[in-house]
Symmetry: none
Subunit: 151 residues, 2 copies
DNA sequence: CCAAAACCCATGCTATCCCATAAATATCCA
DNA sequence: TGGATATTTATGGGATAGCATGGGTTTTGG
C-alpha cells in the first residue's frame, strides 16, 4: 500500500505539466497503472490524488451495493465520473487538466501534500491558510487518532 | 477487470458514429469481443455500457432471484433482451442505434461517464443536471463507501 | 439491385515521447 | 574526511505519434 508523506512544491509549466514528487512516484512503482487518479475535493479548493489500485478497491466496495441501485449509481457518478486518470510521462510528470487547475486555484506552484494513502494538490499560497486552520482545529477540538483495526 | 473512470465528451457524426474514449478502449483491450454492450438505463435517460465479459456477471447476479420469478423475467427481458452489441470499427468507434440515441436524448455531444465496472452514455447537456442530483443525494443521504469485504 | 453497414484513407489537433540542461543529491576514493 | 565525480530530479522545448473526426468506397444482405 502506498504511503504518501511530507509536502513537495513543484512548478507547473505552460503546458500544464508538473513533476510528481519522486518520493510519491516511488510509492507507486509497484502499481499496474503508472500514474495517478485525481478528483475535486468535496471539502476544499484542492484536488485529491490516489493510486490506481485504490480506485480498484473503491470499485470493489461499490459491488456490495445492488447493481443499478440508486446508491451505487449516485456514488459512482460522483466518485468515478468526476475523476481523471493521469499517466506519468518519461520524466515522471503529469498534465493537470485546466478545469482541475482552475478548481484548485493552482496558478504556478503546485503543492503535493501527503496524507497517507492519498494526497492532495493545493495552490502553494492557498495551502498556507489551510495549514493554519487545520492546526487550530486539532488544538481546539483535541483531535486524536482512534485505536485502529485497519480495514 | 475493466475499470472505467472520468468523463469524456465525444461528437456523434451524421452516420451515428462516435469514438469510444481511448482510455475506455484500453480497459477493454483484453476482451475477447472488441466492442461494448449497451442497453437503456432503468433509472435515467441514458445508456448503460459494459464489457462483454461483464454481462456474465450480470447473469450470475440474476440467479439470485428465483428462477421463473416475475422479477427475474422482467430484468432478464430488459437487460438481455434489449441490449445491443456494438463492435469497434478500425478507428475505435461504434455506431449508436437511432432508437437508443433518441432514448438517451443524445443529439450531438455524447458524454461517456465512467462508473467503475460499467459506464453510462448521456447527452452532454443533460449530464450536468444528473451530476448535481447525484452530488446532492450523496450529501443528503450521507452515502459512504462500506468498509469492504471484497466480493 | 438498392440501401445500409463495414471498411479504408485523410487530416488537424493535442498529448506523448524524446532529448537537453541545471540543480540537488548521492557515491566514491584518496 | 573531504573533495571530486556520478546519479537523480526538476524543468524546458521541439519532434512525433495517437486520437477524434470527416468523407469516400466497397461489401453485404434483404
Amino acid at each position: 500500500m502506498a504511503l504518501f508523506l511530507s509536502t513537495h512544491i513543484n512548478k507547473v509549466d505552460k503546458k500544464g505539466r508538473v513533476s510528481v514528487p519522486a518520493q510519491f512516484r516511488d510509492q507507486l512503482s509497484a502499481e499496474a497503472f503508472q500514474g495517478i487518479v485525481l478528483f475535486r475535493s468535496h471539502a476544499h479548493p484542492a484536488l485529491e490524488g490516489f493510486a490506481w489500485s485504490y480506485m480498484e478497491e473503491i470499485s470493489r466496495r461499490l459491488e456490495n451495493f445492488d447493481l443499478f441501485s440508486a446508491e451505487q449509481d449516485d456514488l459512482a457518478t460522483t466518485v468515478f465520473g468526476e475523476s481523471v486518470q493521469l499517466a506519468f510521462d518519461g520524466e515522471g510528470r503529469v498534465v493537470l487538466p485546466v478545469d482541475l487547475m482552475r478548481f484548485a486555484g493552482v496558478v504556478e506552484q503546485a503543492a503535493f501534500v501527503g496524507l497517507g494513502n492519498k494526497f492532495q494538490i493545493w495552490d502553494a499560497a492557498e495551502l498556507e491558510k489551510r495549514r493554519t486552520e487545520a492546526r487550530r482545529n486539532v488544538r481546539d477540538k483535541n483531535l486524536t487518532l482512534p485505536k485502529g483495526e485497519a480495514a
